[in-house]
């Protein structure tokens, strides 16, 4: 039998309290999505799936979901190509500004989105890109490229440098080496980066906020709904988003684990 230990108990209690703080609000949203009432108050009198029904009828919201998905898919695809190519260039070659560049590519992820958003808003029209979904896609792709680049580059850094040499030693041209040895070994990082990119794109507000014209993305649509006043539909859509995020995370953890095992 273990002795009761006040210090251990305190740590455990604090940990639990923090965990509760993190999850409590999300739990509330999920629970209240089944509230039949229009007002979110305590206690819940009737449970129903009513708001999920309303949700399915909400054309604007569904359209915004479709728009978000398309932006996410397109942005991720472009980011994968450009980002992986860039990571490969940085992995294969040494240039003087490399260290500097390594830090620069982090900026679009770390700088406040509102800054990037407004910078793009101020400049895109000069390029002939009007405020539209095109602008949003470009905006998303910009930080997604940096995300893919950093993730894939990090994987490259952990990659055994002798693998590619071994392939060359056994007669592979650089191109063959890439397809037969490099790519299979960074595959998990690419999949992980795609999932993360897509999720981030789906969730992005600050940049989108300034570049969007009429067609809202899902989070912007929700934001608009919130500005107009609280509608219980938001509980329902939030619950769905929560579940989708959960699935995306589980997938990424699964791939992430595989990745660590390889080393």
């Amino acid at each position: 039998m273990k002795k009761f230990d006040a210090l251990n108990f305190m740590t455990g209690f604090l940990a639990f309290a923090v965990m509760f703080f993190i999850y409590f609000p999300m739990l509330i949203v999920v629970i209240y999505s089944f509230n039949a009432d229009t007002v979110n108050s305590f206690p819940i009198k009737h449970f129903s799936l009513k708001w999920y029904g309303v949700l399915i009828q909400n054309k604007t919201l569904l359209t915004s979901l479709k728009i978000s998905a398309l932006i996410g898919i397109f942005g991720t695809a472009v980011a994968l190509v450009i980002g992986t190519m860039g990571a490969l260039a940085m992995h294969k070659h040494n240039f003087k500004l490399k260290r500097f560049f390594e830090r620069i590519v982090l900026l679009p992820i770390t700088l406040p989105g509102i800054l990037t958003g407004i910078a793009m808003l101020s400049f895109f029209p000069l390029l002939g890109i009007s405020i539209s979904l095109t602008a949003v896609v470009i905006g998303h792709t910009t930080f997604l490229i940096c995300l893919v680049l950093t993730q894939v580059y990090a994987r490259f850094k952990r990659l055994d440098p002798y693998l590619e040499e071994a392939a060359a030693d056994l007669g592979s041209t650089p191109w063959q080496t890439f397809w037969k040895v490099t790519l299979p070994n960074i595959k998990t990082a690419i999949i992980g980066a795609s999932l993360l990119s897509f999720t981030l794109s789906l969730d992005e507000i600050p940049v989108t906020f300034f570049l969007i014209a009429r067609d809202n993305t899902l989070p912007i649509e929700i934001y608009t709904m919130l500005r107009r006043g609280i509608t219980p539909e938001v509980n329902a859509i939030s619950t769905i988003i929560f579940i989708i995020s959960l699935i995306a995370l589980i997938l990424s953890v699964k791939f992430g684990e595989r990745e660590t095992k390889i080393i």
């Binding site: 210090l7 740590t11 604090l14 940990a15 923090v18 965990m19 703080f21 993190i22 999850y23 609000p25 509330i28 949203v29 209240y32 007002v39 979110n40 108050s41 305590f42 190509v81 450009i82 980002g83 190519m85 260039a89 940085m90 070659h93 240039f95 003087k96 500004l97 830090r103 590519v105 770390t110 700088l111 406040p112 509102i114 800054l115 990037t116 407004i118 910078a119 793009m120 101020s122 400049f123 390029l127 680049l149 850094k157 650089p174 999720t199 789906l202 507000i205 600050p206 989070p219 929700i222 934001y223 919130l226 938001v234 509980n235 939030s238 995020s245 959960l246 995370l249 589980i250 953890v253």
Partner: protein, 289 residues
């Protein structure tokens, strides 16, 4: 310097470089240039080299006061997020034995859940007709709802702490994990109790993680304009809200750009300080380069 490199490098690197130049560097440059412009009576931009916008920003109380307030509230958010994160990270890293992966997954899950959903949750909890008020009324703790819960600095801070805590938790947990058990054991072997071990061994060794986490929280809070919008209403202005306004209703792009540049400089400064501090305090060998 680039000239010596092989053609394959350019082929791979060019799309990236072009994209970043066109869609990132030039837009920021534009903001920088624009901050020296002026506007005429109709709100139309006039190219100029004027420091007027910066002057206005640093002389009008509302502006610089808001900047300081943003610093203050961001610092509060950072401090609370750190205080809240350390015990949980510690517990998962050192105390939890069975469900470590599950627990870790649980703390990073919120990062994957929509920002807007998390901000929204606090709206329905703290609202005048919200869940907290109706719960307190239900148990008879209060008679009439407290209206000051939502649309206050407090609501913004609570919301931000909630939103940014996972960003703080992750690096701290990682740095706890990297501490070799043997060091903790050595400390105890040398006669330090758990308190001393924590403050003299664990905490100093995890300082880089704590700095990273703190920087995340601080920088993200500095630039947030949505949480203040949703949870602070018109009562709580962050610098980003004024910034946003200048490009919207106030239509003063030079002033807005100047604010943007000030914010940019502040953020870059914080990031640079933090990466220096991180290097300085990292005593464990890691593959961080």
């Amino acid at each position: 310097m680039f000239l010596k490199l092989k053609p394959s490098f350019y082929l791979l690197f060019l799309p990236l470089a072009l994209w970043m130049l066109l869609f990132l560097v030039l837009p920021y440059t534009r903001v920088f240039i624009q901050s020296f412009y002026t506007i005429d009576d109709f709100g139309v931009l006039q190219p100029a080299l004027s420091f007027d916008s910066y002057k206005r920003f640093f002389t009008k109380e509302l502006y610089y006061f808001t900047l300081f307030k943003t610093f203050g509230l961001s610092a509060v958010v950072t401090a609370i997020a750190l205080i809240v994160s350390i015990p949980l990270a510690y517990y998962i890293a050192f105390k939890a034995t069975k469900n470590k992966t599950l627990l870790y997954t649980l703390i990073i899950l919120p990062l994957w859940v929509s920002y807007i959903v998390r901000a929204y949750a606090w709206k329905i909890i703290l609202g005048e007709e919200g869940i907290l008020n109706s719960f307190l009324q239900f148990i008879g703790f209060i008679d009439s709802p407290i209206s000051a819960l939502l649309y206050s600095d407090l609501a913004v801070v609570i919301g931000m702490v909630h939103i940014y805590t996972p960003f703080v938790l992750m690096p701290i947990y990682t740095s706890f994990e990297q501490i070799p058990t043997s060091l903790v054991e050595a400390s105890k072997d040398l006669g330090a109790n758990r308190f001393i071990t924590f403050f003299k061994v664990v905490l100093p060794l995890s300082l880089p993680g704590i700095i990273t986490g703190g920087t995340f929280a601080f920088v993200l809070s500095l630039g947030d304009f949505l949480a203040p919008n949703l949870l602070g209403g018109s009562n709580t202005l962050f610098i980003s809200n004024i910034f946003q306004n200048m490009f919207g209703t106030s239509n003063d792009k030079p002033l807005g750009s100047a604010i943007g540049i000030v914010l940019l400089v502040v953020v870059l400064f914080v990031l640079d300080m933090s990466s220096r501090a991180e290097k300085r305090y990292s005593s464990l060998n890691s593959d961080r380069t």
